[in-house]
């Protein structure tokens, strides 16, 4: 059925990584500049949707062999685990901890448990958005 979308597919191969990197950037920068897990997740979803448009569903599934419902579940567990982890240290549920570290290459950086929670958000957004799109797109 598909016509030969050489230009689209070639461009996608390049653009996908640009979008993906941008989404990762947005995700990591979220604590200081606009962005965060939600937008980052949505942008990653956008990149994958671009792949889906350029190639077909099966190809993308081969390229990204994840079960996205499992991704959603992992995201939820990560978020809940971060929140619940505080109990172990005898502080109220959902208390975050952070500190500043001197890392090679990055310099002085803060490491924050909120980042873990945000990765949970990121995974849930990607997982459920792709689940929705795949299941609707895969239905005839």
């Amino acid at each position: 059925m598909k016509t030969n979308d050489v230009i689209l597919q070639t461009t996608t191969k390049v653009v996908f990584f640009i979008i993906f990197l941008f989404s990762i950037h947005i995700f990591f920068a979220g604590h200081y500049t606009p962005g965060g897990g939600f937008v980052g997740g949505l942008l990653t979803t956008g990149a994958i949707v671009l792949l889906l448009l350029a190639f077909d569903l099966k190809t993308v599934q081969l390229a990204l062999p994840f079960n996205f419902t499992v991704v959603t579940a992992i995201g939820l567990l990560l978020a809940l685990g971060t929140a619940a982890g505080a109990i172990v240290f005898d502080v109220p549920f959902f208390t975050h901890a952070f500190d500043y570290f001197e890392l090679p290459l990055f310099g002085k950086t803060s490491l924050h448990t909120a980042m873990l929670f945000d990765s949970g958000v990121y995974l849930v957004v990607v997982g459920s958005a792709i689940t929705i799109i795949q299941s609707i797109g895969g239905d005839d």
Partner: protein, 810 residues
């Protein structure tokens, strides 16, 4: 005041039948040889014997209390309070109960009937009834009261395969439960006014209660409970239909005990409400009306049990009216009215004896001839001499002839009614003359139906050969109970003052505790002979003469009943009410529950906008504070124009694709607004979300039907327009008003100050989302996950169910 030491918490005895009821199914199942009734018989006999031992205590005006706490924090206790009145009813319940159980052993077939259920229900009823008459706590009184309704429901519907049984059970349930609920309302009002659930404490406060605002309401509600239970006009209609129950049940519940629960209630609450004129008028008036109505319509009936049912209704009315008249003694020293209460209690006992016997005889006739239709019966006197004797004694007592106990109480009744017209308060002097007249006419009809009942059945030629069964005398066991009751009828006639001293006077004292210090203060001596100057005597003579004449001419005047159209009867009214309840409500709900989502949205939005706008104006909350507005930028105006154009396009678009694209336009201009109002995170999210959702819309596009008008008429369009405009106006008004009235400062300063130090971040929005208020985010991602799984599930399940149906088709 304990007359003697009571070694047992006798409140527990109330529950003896209930506990015994648990054992009955085992006895029924495993002891096949012996009729289950013999085991049951033990319970009422034991209780009767035990309660007899209270007579010496109450005779001196004493009482006994036994209590177990049930819900102490609410003041609800099971309190057994035995004074003269409770004891009288307790003895009736256990005494007649024993006789009825004995009778039922011979009446209910061991092999054909489900005796297990029968006796379980009966014992359940016994507990309920004992609880009603002994409870001092209004809440437990109500509990037992409803238990009598339920057990009565079960007993009436005992032959549940018959339509008429189920109808009668349901009808009695509806009416008595209605009354019960009203009564509960009255009890709650009373306990609010008196701050106690205890009847004794309420009685002690009676003088203050009279002036409370809800006094009359409580009075009417409690009377509704009593009137429905005691089958007073116009609630008597359930009683004739309850005759579908097995005859022992009719004899027990519907003549001797349950229907007297209402009488008990009225008597018990007389010390509280008795001083009110409303009470006197209602109880006396309704009682007399019921007396007349029941006796008048009894002659119309052709079923033996129906005659007795109407007769019960009428006699209950008589007792009720006497109780009402007795309450007058709070206002006058005329001894005649103290007499009335005495007469009420006396007649209560008498009625229980003769009516119980008559019901049992009706059951025997049914049992031995196969029919209860009076038109088919006749000439049974020589075939069933013992039954005839009992029936004659019962009927003549019911008619009020000597030498039977009914005569004594009927005389006292007539005396009281004659006395009523001399009473000068509450307009009794103008209307009082009606009371003796109605009472007299009703007594004439009572006399007539009593003759009608006994003579039509036992005298005459009869068509013995046409009866379904060959009639013969009943087994002696079956006759034993009616014989005992009939002999009581005679015995009470000869020793009325002994019964009075032992039982009636203590009961009268309980009904009017403020008037007497001890039962011996009640100076009443009942005698059969008052001398020729007694008014009641001449009234009785007149009753006998007129009644006999009426009986002889029954065929001539019976067509009179046909004058009343069937459509206008109370039963018809009840049926119509039920039909209205079922069909009318159905129709009503069908009118507004159209099943169309559009209609429901219409209701919701209309309600929302109307109430909110009304509240805004009523509270005068509407205001615009121009000073709080920020300056309007050019970009803002331009963007707003774009937004409005897109919205207009969405609403008026005729193509779905165009609508979706315009919706995207709306989303992007909202994102632009976020940019203008300096919310980069929101702008980013809005932009991406809008893109994804438009993509999803387009993905689903090919499955969607063409955008059509769904048969919108102009009227619909106008209504929609009005509703949507009003919702828009409402939201705008609320937004403007709430913006103009900020009561407290925003908390955002705290976030600004602590975002770097406390949370180690720079982006306040993100830090709020993941740190300050991460809880919200946690559950929002849960929502997202659920949505994803739900879409997956919806699509997958649809596919698999489609597969299943095609498999089935193959």
């Amino acid at each position: 005041m304990y007359g003697r030491r009571i070694f047992l918490e006798f409140v527990l005895l109330i529950f003896l039948p209930l506990v015994f009821a648990i054992l009955i199914p085992f006895a029924y199942k495993y002891v096949k040889g012996i009729h289950t009734g013999w085991f049951v018989l033990l319970v009422p006999l034991l209780l009767f014997g035990y309660y007899l031992s209270f007579i010496p205590l109450t005779m001196d005006g004493g009482h006994a209390i036994s209590e177990i706490k049930w819900i102490p924090s609410l003041g609800i206790t099971f309190t057994s309070y035995i004074d003269g009145l409770s004891l009288l009813f307790t003895l009736l319940i256990t005494g007649i109960g024993s006789l009825v159980v004995l009778y039922s052993i011979f009446y209910m077939d061991k092999h054909k009937e489900d005796l297990g259920s029968f006796y379980v229900y009966l014992l359940l009823f016994m507990t309920a009834m004992l609880g009603v008459v002994q409870s001092d706590n209004t809440m437990t009184l109500y509990l037992f009261w409803e238990l009598t309704s339920i057990s009565s429901f079960l007993l009436i519907g005992y032959w549940y395969t018959r339509d008429r049984s189920r109808f009668g059970a349901l009808k009695s349930m509806m009416i008595t439960v209605f009354g019960g609920l009203m009564m509960l309302g009255g009890f709650i009002l009373l306990s609010m006014m008196g701050d106690s659930f205890s009847i004794r404490e309420l009685i002690a406060q009676a003088p203050e209660l009279v002036n409370q605002p809800y006094f009359t309401l409580a009075l009417v509600l409690i009377l509704l409970g009593a009137f429905t239970k005691s089958a007073q006009f116009p609630f008597y209609i359930w009683l004739p239909d309850a005759m579908e129950a097995p005859t022992p049940v009719s004899a027990y519940l519907h003549s001797a005990t349950m229907v007297k629960a209402g009488i008990y209630l009225v008597a018990r609450f007389t010390p509280i409400f008795g001083t009110s004129s409303t009470w006197i008028w209602l109880v006396t008036g309704i009682g007399l009306l019921t007396l007349f109505w029941g006796s008048f319509f009894a002659v119309k009936q052709t079923d033996l049990k129906a005659i007795l049912a109407f007769s019960t209704v009428s006699q209950l009315g008589l007792i009720m009216s006497l109780l009402g008249a007795g309450a007058i003694s709070y206002h006058t020293t005329d001894a005649m009215f103290a007499f009335a209460t005495y007469a009420a209690i006396f007649h209560l006992i008498n009625h229980a004896t003769f009516k119980g016997g008559l019901f049992m005889i009706a059951g025997i006739i049914d049992h031995e001839t196969g029919t209860r239709d009076i038109r088919k019966l006749g000439g049974l006197m020589s075939l069933m001499p013992l039954s005839f004797t009992v029936a004659l004694i019962g009927s003549l007592s019911m008619a009020g002839l000597p030498p039977f106990n009914g005569f004594l109480s009927k005389e006292m009744f007539l005396d009281s009614m004659v006395a009523l017209q001399h009473f000068e308060l509450f307009q009794f002097d103008t209307w009082g003359i009606l009371f003796p007249i109605i009472a007299w006419i009703a007594s004439v009809f009572t006399f007539t139906y009593s003759l009608y009942f006994v003579l039509k059945t036992f005298l005459g030629k009869g068509k013995v050969d046409l009866l379904p069964k060959r009639p013969h005398e009943a087994p002696i066991g079956m006759l034993l109970s009616p014989l005992v009751l009939a002999s009581l009828v005679l015995v009470i006639f000869f020793i009325p003052n002994l019964v009075g001293k032992w039982i009636i006077k203590p009961a009268v004292m309980a009904v009017q505790p403020t008037l007497y210090a001890s039962p011996s203060d009640i100076k009443i001596h009942v005698s059969a002979w008052h001398g020729f100057d007694s008014v009641a005597l001449w009234l009785t003579v007149a009753i006998v003469i007129t009644g006999t004449l009426l009986y002889l001419t029954i065929p001539k005047w019976q067509p009179l009943y046909r004058l009343q159209p069937a459509k206008l009867s109370l039963n018809e009214a009840y049926d119509a009410l039920m039909r209205l309840g079922e069909k009318g409500m159905n129709r009503l709900s069908r009118v507004y529950m159209t099943g169309r989502l559009r209609t429901y949205l219409l209701y919701m939005f209309a309600f929302l906008s109307v109430t909110v706008i009304a509240v805004l104006f009523m509270k005068d909350a509407f205001m615009i504070d121009m000073n709080s507005f920020a300056a309007i930028s050019l970009y803002g105006v331009l963007n707003a124009v774009i937004l409005l154009l897109s919205v207009g396009f969405v609403v008026f678009s005729r193509s779905r694709l165009a609508a979706i694209i315009a919706l995207g336009g709306v989303g992007y201009s909202v994102a632009l607004f976020f940019v203008i109002f300096k919310a980069p995170d929101l702008a980013l999210t809005q932009l991406v979300i809008e893109t994804v959702s438009v993509a999803l819309f387009l993905l689903a596009f090919k499955h969607l039907p063409a955008l059509n008008t769904h048969g919108e008429t102009t009227k619909n369009k106008v209504v929609n327009l009005i509703i949507s405009l009003s919702v828009g106006v409402m939201v705008t008004l609320v937004a403007l008003s709430s913006h103009s009235q900020k009561l407290i400062p925003s908390i955002s300063q705290y976030y600004k100050d602590t975002v770097a130090t406390e949370a180690g971040g720079g982006n306040i929005v993100n830090v709020i989302l993941v740190d300050y208020r991460g809880f919200d985010t946690l559950f929002e991602i849960a929502v997202l996950a659920i949505a994803g799984i739900a879409v997956l599930g919806m699509i997958r399940l649809r596919v698999s169910s489609r597969k299943e149906t095609t498999d089935e088709n193959k």
